[in-house]
């Protein structure tokens, strides 16, 4: 195992973490501000990817495709908030889980109805294709570096939005006391629609960015959703800072455990058995991480008790 390979794996872990952050940021905002468990968040990821694939096929432009993914997911988010989610704020979490689970099924079958059952084509643009040479002789795909950059820019923008702007103040106020902010004359239902659409748009652009290197197909959002929930539990529910740190931790743990554990077992076992045992343990690693964090900080790294 060389240093170059290790650095490459750390970059992979970062890229995975940044992508998880885009998903988890919306999820944690929605939970923090509105107290809503939104299982359908993965559907916005899928909507973003399909919107991007359809736009890229029609126009050939990747930037337009990204814009389309933002708009489509935000619009879908706003519509869902206004028609369904709004009725769920005062219900308990079980009702929310049931209703948003129903939304997953509706979105999945609706997408199949519109686009068919076969995966769609979405590729990375020519100007980001291929590897780039980094110091120490590392060859790393440019596109993955671009994902890391986009994710960090979005994270910075989100912090600025929440810390510095008027709407950010309202969001933070809504998190601590929603009756009081309504009494102060802030239109709480518009604020909720905005937050929900923002979260959906972040998921949508994550879907489009990742769709270009993975597959754009029905049901692509659900595996990511589970990891995003792990991230917000580790980071502390409602905390953007926690989501970023949690996402990077999960991304790095998952990637490095998947790489290091089979190698470590390979020192004492034959390769086939080491690979099987190592990869089985590696897939548990993030849940072990979550359990460990919760043991010492039951509300997550940045959660308020």
């Amino acid at each position: 195992m060389s240093l170059v390979l290790l650095i490459e794996q750390v970059l992979n872990g970062l890229q995975f973490g940044v992508m998880l952050f885009l998903m988890a940021a919306g999820l944690t905002l929605i939970f923090g501000v509105m107290g809503l468990i939104n299982l359908a968040h993965g559907s916005f990821y899928m909507i973003g990817a399909f919107a991007a694939a359809a736009t890229a096929a029609a126009t050939g432009s990747f930037l337009l495709a990204l814009a389309a993914s933002l708009v489509a997911a935000a619009v879908a988010g706003a519509i869902v908030e206004m028609t369904v989610i709004r009725r769920l704020y005062n219900r308990d979490h079980l009702d929310q889980v049931l209703a948003t689970f129903a939304l997953i099924l509706i979105f999945s079958e609706g997408t199949r109805w519109l686009f068919g059952s076969f995966p769609l084509f979405l590729d990375i643009p020519d100007y980001l294709a291929g590897p780039i040479s980094l110091p120490f002789g590392i060859q790393y795909p440019q596109y993955r570096l671009a994902i890391i950059a986009v994710g960090l820019v979005v994270a910075g923008g989100l912090f600025a939005l929440i810390a510095k702007t008027r709407i950010g103040i309202q969001i933070r106020a809504g998190e601590s006391d929603r009756e009081m902010i309504a009494a102060l004359g802030v239109d709480i239902s518009n604020l909720y629609t905005f937050v929900f659409a923002l979260g959906a748009a972040l998921a949508g652009i994550a879907g489009a960015l990742i769709g270009a290197i993975q597959s754009v197909q029905v049901g692509m959002g659900e595996p990511v959703l589970i990891l995003a929930f792990v991230v917000i539990v580790i980071g502390g529910i409602g905390s953007i800072k926690g989501a970023l740190l949690g996402a990077l931790l999960v991304g790095l743990t998952d990637t490095l455990a998947g790489f290091l554990l089979p190698n470590a077992f390979g020192l004492v076992m034959d390769p086939a058995a080491a690979s099987a045992v190592g990869s089985s343990l590696a897939s548990m690693s993030i849940y072990v991480l979550m359990a460990g964090v919760l043991l010492f900080r039951p509300t997550g790294l940045f959660g308020s008790s």
Binding site: M1, S2, V4, L5, E8, Q9, N12, Q15, F16, S108, E109, R112, S117, F118, P119, L120, F121, D123, I124, A129, G130, P131, Q139, P141, Y143, R144, I210, A212, I213, Q214, S215, V216, Q217, V218, G219, M220, P223, T255, G258, F259, P262, P271, A272, S275, A276, S279, S280, S283
Partner: protein, 377 residues
């Protein structure tokens, strides 16, 4: 009045017993969620053959298993107990097949597999009423090993998902492959990001890569591999190169060698007619899954034409004879009711705007499977 009622009942039962002379088929397959493309192709191929045969005595009930073993078991119970089907078919995934097939066979039903061929049902668990019309799970991977040998690969990196069919896959490959391995990896089932694996392939000094990553996993791997700048030759089974997937992979798949028992350009009149009529009926090219569904239905039609399904032994013998024109050309059943067939090496090409496969060589001729001697029935 009472007499009239009795007469009516008798008349109805006699109609019902007449209807029992027909063959009733229960198809359980994946029509929603991830992997729906495979089930839809099997169903469409199967129904095309039924339609072309013009027979109205074969009734097909189709249900969606959502790729979930528990749902497949419920559907099978309902089909056997309330629908009273004679023959079950359609399951795509080996883990679902293992949940459904043994109990269906124990209840005296026939099972014709259009796809899944787990080794458990080929060896000790074989059954006279279980027929696999596709392949035993190891087959295409054995052909991959043969291709690696004949091409002269000597230091291959192999990877597959960490689940039973993934292990069968690498077992099958290694059974035939004679060179050395530069690395062996089991990935998570459903994994979509292969950056870590690709980095390890790059560092391993391999001269080629053999991978079994069906469906969406294969799309992700191929696109990321192409973008990584690695240029080692790739070999895989047809499951990552079927007609439904290739369009989503695009240029990244061009030129890749893959092994299959069927191809769009398999040269025989049955196949030419099948490809043309499938395209006319559904407006898309058939995949290997569609060809397997089509062959499964034609096997059933051939057996229903020469034996009564109520007479189990006769129907079993009629199936075993495999007296139908397969899209694959020569087709026969081995001792454990799994196919003996040629397996080809195909290459991904572009025809106009469509990505598809063409046959470049024959990897294994009249290939059977490794489990025949374990099977006693």
């Amino acid at each position: 009045m009472k007499l009239k009622f009795l007469a009516l009942v008798t008349a109805l039962t006699s109609v019902a017993s007449l209807a029992q002379a027909d063959v009733k088929v229960g198809m359980i397959t994946t029509l929603s969620g991830g992997g729906a493309g495979l089930g839809i192709d099997v169903r469409d191929g199967f129904m095309l053959a039924i339609k072309q045969s013009g027979r109205d005595d074969i009734e097909v009930v189709i249900e969606d298993d959502q790729r979930k073993p528990d749902i497949a078991v419920q559907l099978a119970d309902r089909m056997i107990q309330s629908e009273k089907v004679d023959v079950l078919t359609g399951i795509i995934w080996s883990n679902l097949a293992m949940a459904v097939v043994p109990s269906a066979l124990a209840q005296g039903k026939f099972y014709l597999s259009p796809n899944a061929g787990p080794s458990q049902l080929a060896g000790k668990g074989c059954h006279k009423n279980y027929f696999n019309v596709a392949w035993q799970n190891d087959n295409l991977h054995e052909a991959g090993g043969a291709h690696a040998n004949s091409t002269g690969y000597n230091n291959t990196f192999v990877l597959a998902p960490n689940y039973p069919a993934g292990k069968d896959a690498l077992t099958g490959f290694k059974r035939v492959y004679e060179g050395g391995l530069s690395g062996e990896l089991y990935t998570k089932l459903g994994q979509k990001d292969y950056a870590s694996e690709i980095a390890q392939i790059r560092a391993s000094g391999a001269d080629s890569v053999y991978f079994f990553l069906p469906g969406g996993m294969g799309i992700s791997f191929l696109k990321q591999y192409a973008d990584s700048g690695l240029e080692l030759p790739l070999v895989g089974p047809a499951f990552s190169f079927d007609q439904g997937i290739l369009q989503a992979v695009g240029d990244a798949a061009l030129g890749v060698a893959n092994t299959s028992q069927w191809s769009k350009d398999t040269a025989n009149p049955t196949n030419e007619a099948f490809v043309a009529s499938f395209q006319a009926e559904y407006g898309r090219l058939p995949s290997l899954y569609a060809s397997q569904g089509f062959d499964t239905a034609n096997l059933l039609i051939s057996a229903a034409g020469s034996a009564d399904v109520a007479d189990g032994d006769a129907f079993q013998a009629a199936l075993k004879a495999a007296d139908f024109a397969s899209t694959r050309g020569d087709f026969a059943f081995a001792g454990n009711n799994h196919p003996i067939q040629d397996i080809y090496v195909r290459e991904v090409i572009k025809e106009g705007d469509i990505y598809t496969n063409k046959i470049v060589s024959t990897a294994l001729e009249d290939h059977s499977n490794a489990y025949v001697s374990d099977c006693s029935m």
